[in-house]
Amino acid sequence: MRFSFLMRRILEIIPVMLVVTVVVFTILQLTPGDPARVMLGDIATEQDVESLRQALGLDQPLAVQYFSFLGNILRGNLGDSIALERSVLQAIIERVEPTLLLTTMSLLIAVVVGVVAGVLSASMHNRLGDQLLSTLALVGVSIPNFWLGLVFILVFAVELRLFPAAGYKNVSEEGLLVTLRYLVLPSIVLGLSQAAIISRITRSTMLDVLGQDHVRTAIAKGLGRSIVILRHVLVNAFVPILTVIGLVLAALLSGAVVIETVFAIPGLGRLVISSIARRDYPVIQGIVLITALVYVLVNLVVDLLYTVVDPRVRY
């Protein structure tokens, strides 16, 4: 990987993140009427509203507001929560653990299940098993994950009593194992919806590679089918799969908002939803901003990984 490419790719993030900050800034401006009044509600006195307006700089011209917003972000200052009596950054840090664990576990499940299903599907191309798995994948992308979550709670928690129905324990409270038990159902639900997408891509790229000369040679040499698939096909199908993983992460972060609500997990997603009820816009803005930043950085890493996974890719 050349240094100039690395630099260019890193510099490309700047305009994208600038747009992100403009969008996040706009969220507050889109509220109908006076944002300070909206946040404090009808019972607040005009004096309180005025002091909040000043504290947030809402009395300044729009451009000045934006640049001070941007300046604060660059200094790592995401502002203060209206309702939680702490800084937005602190509120985020307190709630980040469950979301981080949930999305990581879901990503693992999605990749493992998706790649295995895709490989099976492709190696049984056009036979019954393939058609079954493809239909299952179509059904999988169509089922809303929050509904699947509710059904899972009914079946695995209420009826079978295998896992807790909802809630969460921090790792520091009762150890990692207890925490993971709480996350099993939500991670499976969130992971499965994305596994369907990964399996579709894996299947079509595998079929693509299966038709190539080097695979035919390997089969002609008399290598076993599973060795050909593992050593010659899957390895070459990795780049498209890697791309999808970048996209899947965004979907998982989206899904976490919904799944955390279904399973009552006190993560960032739930914090966003409860902040909406409290009209705590700084917290909403902070979480949206941080999530976008994470997503942009992950995609940067994915891009850079291409060169590692596929030596043919040169920038």
């Binding site: 969008v23 609500t261 909406i276």
Partner: protein, 298 residues
Amino acid sequence: MSGVREAMAPPTDAVELADRRTLRQTLARMFRRRVVLIGTMLFVGLLVIAVFADLIAPADPLYMNVRSRLADPSGEAWLGTDHLGRDVASRLIYGARISLIAGFGSVVFSTVVGVLVGLFAGYFKTLDTVLMRVMDGLMSFPVILLAVALMAALGPTLLNVILALSAVYAPRTARIVRSAVLGIKQLPYVEAAEALGSRSGRILFLHVLPNCMSPIIVQATFIFAYAVQAEAALSFLGVGVPPSVPSWGSMLSEARLYMIQAPLLTIAPGLAIAATVLALNSIGDGLRDVLDPNYVDA
């Protein structure tokens, strides 16, 4: 002039080929897979239910009969009643209307905006970088999170759901249109039109746009599917349509509390959402088979 017109006619291309096949061949290709046929029939059924909800629904979806709360299914209430004694079947039927309006509205708005941005970005080099960086920025947010944040600002109405989802999906359409335009503007007939001095707007909308229609139609179908699912998610989270409106998502969020006493309340709206999204996804797959000969998913 007519000779020039003919010379400027688009060359054989996906759309042209599709036109030239007989309608029967095209339909046979589209419905080659049984799931596409089933999906299409399902969607037509849903459309009929949504349009004629007033005639089909056995009861007023908003009428609360507190004396028969959480009632079991019966001849009167086909799927029973919810925690406020409202008829579940009727709410599902009216919910179809909300889902389809939200989905269709998002498709229209996001496609119009996405196509315009994509056309301009693809055709005018000077606009490309700026427009596409803005689109990249918008696409850096997880879909539901951005939609939730926009709804937090705009407030819960059906129109705002449509606007928020359009803002989320328009960049995706823009990106697809742009890459189609980049290919098409190299073609000789576009060059010919430029050489003849046609105005850019005329070239874009008369010569370039008609040849981007295949990917736009396929993308619009998938956006329809995503938007139905996203509307349900937003309403489930309580930031979608107002609670008084019978929406499948808000029905699910209310049913959650009575999941154990009345599981049907949870199961029915979920199946409705899944069926609608499945129908749209399979129609999208079928359309892609017909319209996009380059797409390989053997």
